[in-house]
Amino acid sequence: MAGAAARGTGCVTLRGAQIRDLLDAKHNVLFDCDGVIWNGETAVTGAPEVVSLLKQRGKRVFFVTNNCTRPRENYVQKFSRLGFTDVAEEEIFSSAYCSAAYLRDVARLQGKVYVIGCGGVMKELRDAGVPVAEEEDAEPGASIYTCPLDPDVKAVLVGYDENFTFMKLAKACCYLRSPECLFLATDPDPWHPLRGGRVTPGSGSLTAALETASSRKATVIGKPSRFMFECISSQFGLDPARSLMIGDRLETDVLFGSNCGLTTVLTLTGVSTLEEALAYRDGQEPQQKDCVPDYVMESVADFLQALEE
């Protein structure tokens, strides 16, 4: 149960009857995506069946991802492409969607948002009706003195952006000089895994640059912050005690689960290893305890046996 790690336990390997008991006790199952149900363009073997069977058993299934590169409708297509049937847009919570929801519903933004981000974020903001400051194409010879600032900008949102430049950093920093200007980041991930153990810089690295430039800390929407859970809960009414979080990254998924009072499961098909989980459990730092998963399983396919009975 949630809090097992605080008692010095955690990292329990789930087997047989334990899996069935765990599923019986939970009504809501939250899955991270990358490294849990798929890796790149390949579904984790058994994952589509697990999702399908959970729904047949009457469980509510949600997908909670820090990946802000796609709008939700693209995710629906990806699910379909990879063999997951009946995944609805409403079940998908990405940091891009939740950042837009935050600006619209929590911040109730009166004004525009200056975005360092990619197409996925822009689309979610547009769909949520949040006005985005237009990025004028840099003219040759444009410098930080001459590029105009939009007086309607009341928030800065930073996320993964393959078109990140020094100029964007400088502009965002100018907007953030005003204390009333909100400072949001889609997610804290310093790097993202690609196929074959390779990595690419993540939102966290761009956020770090902007925090350093502005001497301000961003409000982070994505895991491990609670907001994505609150976003789901505001739409679906989730009881944390009856919710299970399944992820592959200790510092985001498991910590997110701990922060929200959920039971946490680490799957070993992604970033974090059992050794790392044990190191957090057996280490001295109190704050590391929140990164210790209650349970560990090789892959989400381990749920199949319990579900097929």
């Binding site: 020094f166 950093l169 790097w191 690419t200 761009l206 640059a209 350093t212």
Partner: protein, 308 residues
Amino acid sequence: MAASKCNVTRLTEALSRQLLDSVDSVLFDCDGVIWRGDQAIPGASEVINSLKKNGKRVFFVTNNSTKTRQMYADKLGKLGFDASADEVFGTAYCSAVYLKNVCKLDGKVYLIGSNAMRQELEDVGIRPVGVGPDPISGGQKDWANVPLDNEVRAVLVGFDEHFSYMKLNRALQYLCYPDCQFVGTNTDTRLPLEGGKAVPGTGCLLKAVETAAQRQAQVVGKPSSFMFECVASQFGLDPERCLMVGDRLDTDIMLGSNCGLKTLLTLTGVSTVAEAEANQKSECPQRQKMVPDYYIESIADILPALQA
């Protein structure tokens, strides 16, 4: 020692004379001390030139990586300062020396930085790759597979107006190799510009690379003692006979404390007396290193003592 005083000591004319007699060399930070952007601080050139006439050696120690020593000498000359390139220690030059002598770099360096940095590296016989614009191309799958130069043995990060996601990505790919060394010119968060404005500094770019790579860079610039060691080793300086003059408590004064120099804070730049006094009152040993021996409104105020 500074800690035993109740307040940070103002440098009066009498104290100036005493202080100057006790040192042979004076090291000046540049931005906020002898100039602001492209404007000299009034009286600064007279002070520097007068110090030299009085037989003191003068050096310029700056974290700014956008100019070579020669470019600094040219700027100093234009503003009326009697100075030569070998008296200037900027991080473009010092990083090159660091890579050569401390890292003992045998191979190329992937450089996020300026043409000035490229030139200083080439002058010590190190070949940099990567300078200039580097726009994104291809898709996410391609980025982890960008062609890497297999002679690169270090990544060096300095100020770069062409900083981009692609450069960040390339640096990350190189730094995934644990044997690849990782050096940064400085951690200043703002870069002062001509005309008195400021933009995000090298510290921001370095933080982005450190975060992506989950590695810490070796930092060359103040307050790291390497900058002083660079000057001292070339000119045979005795720390006890050196004065560091700067406007930033966290770089200039801390460097002075780290190296056992006398320190003088000038108020024409970033830090204030209130900040210095707060550091002095704090219990924290790190903050105690950011308390100057003396402060002065502007270095021009030293002139009477020099001309006496």
